[in-house]
């Protein structure tokens, strides 16, 4: 059997929403210290509403060609969160000689993987010494 029997049509509805909060503080507790802390958190979701693309008349006479789109809307769903935090501590031994510690973490959570699971956490830290001239 081969042939076409018209078309099936639906209006698809796609919704996305994201919230992002961020905060930071810089502190100079004394002449020798500089401290900075930054925080950001993002939650984002996006996805299609369920759709049927039903072709009832066609399926009624051709039951072997029935199809099921009940899960198709979920294939491209996005549901992610991202947490960012970084901290910097700088200590001045003298006016011109100092040391800096820096730390950063990004935690990405992929709750509904699309092509593959991109969930991952990366941490960085640096320790440096500096001289002003």
């Amino acid at each position: 059997m081969g042939g076409q029997d018209g078309y099936s049509r639906n209006v698809l509805n796609y919704n996305e929403e994201s919230n992002n909060i961020m905060a930071g503080i810089k502190i100079r507790p004394g002449d020798r210290w500089d401290i900075g802390l930054n925080l950001a958190y993002t939650a984002a979701e996006g996805g299609l509403a369920p759709f049927e693309l039903s072709a009832d008349d066609y399926v009624a006479v051709t039951p072997s060609m029935s199809f099921d789109f009940s899960k198709s809307n979920t294939y491209s769903t996005i549901d992610v969160t991202r947490f960012n935090f970084d901290a910097m501590f700088k200590y001045k031994f003298t006016e011109d000689l100092w040391m800096r510690l820096w730390y950063k973490v990004v935690d990405f959570d992929d709750e509904d993987p699309y092509l593959y699971d991109t969930t991952g956490m990366v941490q960085w830290a640096t320790i440096t010494a500096g001289w002003n001239f």
Binding site: Q4, D5, Y7, L12, R100, G120, A125, A129
Partner: protein, 577 residues
């Protein structure tokens, strides 16, 4: 590395004036300050770094930073360079020599993780044995492109003739690493192959500029030459043999232009580009508050592989006039034209080697021949106009502003409605800004857009074809793709024919603290075509607060919200077989 060498060379060149000045012995040092920082970077990756560190290094090793800023009799120099890792560093170098030579240089390098598609979505088997399958020929490859760009602009101004400024510009962008190359073989079954494509792309821009300025105006001419080159423009691949999807025999050769019979061929071919751009600018302002600017841009872009060219020419005029202290009028007009050559793609008409259609071509069976000339949808004449009037009531009562944007796009080939190639849009906007009290600022804006023949694909979906049932795929009466296309009645779009936008913003400063809020609402739709029914609604809101706290600390807090809802129809043909 080449880009980094360019930056280092520019740094050394910049150091020359210091040495020359020192030898001259006529320098009175004024101020010099800087810093050196050195240490180590440690990192840890748990899971995938593709999103958590999409544009950041995960390498470990030494880090360093250098800053130097000096103001001397001969001029000034500002140098900053930070080395984070081999694939991530940033720097700038600015200097001027007695205001005769002014140079601004920047350098940035970073990785971009592209992700590795495992192609698990490309795996399926139908009830009767038709298969979609994939082969990953580089399963362990990390797809990362390292991006590095160096930009320089150096101006020369001669003491004997100050009105003249000459400038040279240079930009080098390097992208190298590996990208995932996909190829699809058809007809035996859908077989998607993936392999690593090593990339080494370089885009260089060189520009020359001359400007002559006088008390009330300036005229400027600029020429830019761009070259995009790919050292490894393609990889090689072999397509599968065309086979009947169930019987697995070669009976469909006449339905495909080529398959494995052409042997190893280049795939994932990336084009190399040449682009020349010339620009003329003119600006003039009178003493009575009237100002006019005009410019023209001409460019030609050439694909070196195909020889296809795209030409652009555009002209812009802006006139502004202030009437007293309250009323201001401004008009901006632009006309432009783009033209890309048409392309005829010759087809290979193969003969089926076996089966009921053995010895025949597609034309022999179906008697159909198609026009394979491709016309550019970008070919067009465009006109844009913006009229902007503002009236300032006073310091507290604020400013009222009205805007009218008018645009016409007249396409050469592409129809955006049956028999129509022209899109006309009108946008009317009104905004009001006031400062009702000390520290308080209020902004409101409303815009309405109306588009006649918004961009649309006419008869692109919803095929109404109702055919007979054919048990034999070789039956010449079987509907072909063009039969299915010719019976489509649905128009598709992602452009609004009517939309509204509203913006509200508040700012409040108390003491040294600042609170700001902004809300944007956009709503548009398009039901002009057949079965179009497209609509989109978007809202964004932001609130930020910053406070100095105390003398030894300051802090900030922010929130951003975005919400979008999109309605768009989809049509699928109902097939049997």
């Amino acid at each position: 590395m080449k880009t980094l060498q360019t930056f280092v060379l520019a740094t050394l060149l910049a150091a020359l004036p210091i040495a020359v000045a020192a030898e001259d012995g006529d320098v009175t040092p004024n101020t010099t300050e800087g810093s050196i920082e050195f240490g180590g970077l440690f990192s840890d990756v748990d899971g995938s770094p593709d999103m958590a560190a999409e544009y950041l290094t995960t390498n470990e090793g030494p880090v360093g930073a250098f800053k130097l800023k000096t103001d001397q009799d001969w001029g000034a120099l500002d140098l900053k360079f930070k080395y984070v890792a081999q694939d991530q560093n940033v720097g700038h170098l600015n200097f001027d020599i007695k205001r005769m030579v002014r140079s601004h240089n920047t350098y940035t390098k970073m990785p971009h993780r592209l992700g590795h598609d495992p192609m698990t979505a490309l795996t399926s088997v139908s009830r009767n044995g038709k298969v979609v399958r994939n082969t990953d020929m580089s399963p362990n490859q990390d797809y990362v492109m390292n991006y590095a760009v160096f930009e320089d602009r150096t101006e020369l101004q001669f003491p004997g003739f100050r009105p003249l400024t000459l400038a040279v510009g240079f930009r080098e962008q390097v992208r190298n690493g590996h990208t995932q190359a996909f190829t699809t073989s058809h007809c035996d079954s859908c077989h998607i192959k993936s392999q690593s494509h090593q990339r080494d792309q370089e885009t260089t821009d060189g520009s020359l500029e001359a400007a002559v300025a006088w008390k009330s105006g300036v005229i400027r001419a600029r020429y830019n030459n761009r070259k995009l080159r790919e050292s490894l423009p393609s990889v090689t691949g072999t397509f599968d043999k065309n086979l009947h999807p169930e019987l697995q025999v070669p009976v469909f050769d006449n339905r495909m232009q080529y398959d494995s019979d052409v042997g190893v061929v280049p795939v994932d071919l990336k084009p190399e580009i040449n682009k020349d751009t010339t620009r003329l600018d003119f600006r003039w302002a009178s003493k009575n508050g009237f100002a006019v600017t005009a410019n023209g841009v001409w460019s030609e872009t050439e694909n070196r592989g195909t020889g296809n060219t795209a030409d652009y020419s555009g002209y812009v005029v802006t006139a502004a006039k202030r009437f007293g202290n309250h009323l201001r009028l401004r008009w901006n007009g632009k006309v432009y034209q783009t033209e890309t050559n048409s392309v005829y793609i010759d087809t290979i008409e193969r003969v089926s080697p076996a089966g009921p259609q053995a010895g025949t071509t597609y034309y022999d069976i179906y008697g159909k021949n198609y026009d394979h000339t491709r016309y550019s949808v970008l070919n067009r004449d465009g006109l844009k106009s913006r009229l902007d009037a503002s009236y300032r009531f006073g310091r507290k009562l604020g400013t009222l502003r009205g805007v009218w944007d008018y645009e016409v796009i007249d396409r050469e080939y592409y129809e955006v409605a049956p028999g129509k190639k022209e899109t006309t849009s009108n946008i009317l906007g009104v905004s009001y800004r006031m400062r009702p009290a000390k520290g308080l600022r209020f902004d409101a804006e409303f815009k309405h857009g109306d588009v006649t023949n918004a961009f649309m694909a006419v008869d692109a979906t919803c095929s109404t074809l109702v055919s007979s049932r054919y048990t034999n795929p070789w039956n010449p009466e079987t509907p072909q793709y063009d039969d299915q296309h010719a019976t489509r009645i649905g128009d598709t779009t992602a452009s609004a024919s009517s939309w509204n936008k509203a913006v509200l913003a508040l700012g409040y400063t108390f003491g040294q603290s600042t609170l700001t809020g902004r809300y944007v609402y956009w709503d548009g739709s398009n039901s002009d075509g057949d079965l179009t029914d497209w609509s989109k609604n978007r809202q964004t809101a932001t609130i930020t607060f910053w406070s100095p706290g105390g003398s030894s600390w300051d802090w900030y807090l922010g929130w951003a919200y975005q919400d979008m809802s999109l309605d768009a129809p989809t049509c699928v043909p109902v097939f049997d077989g």
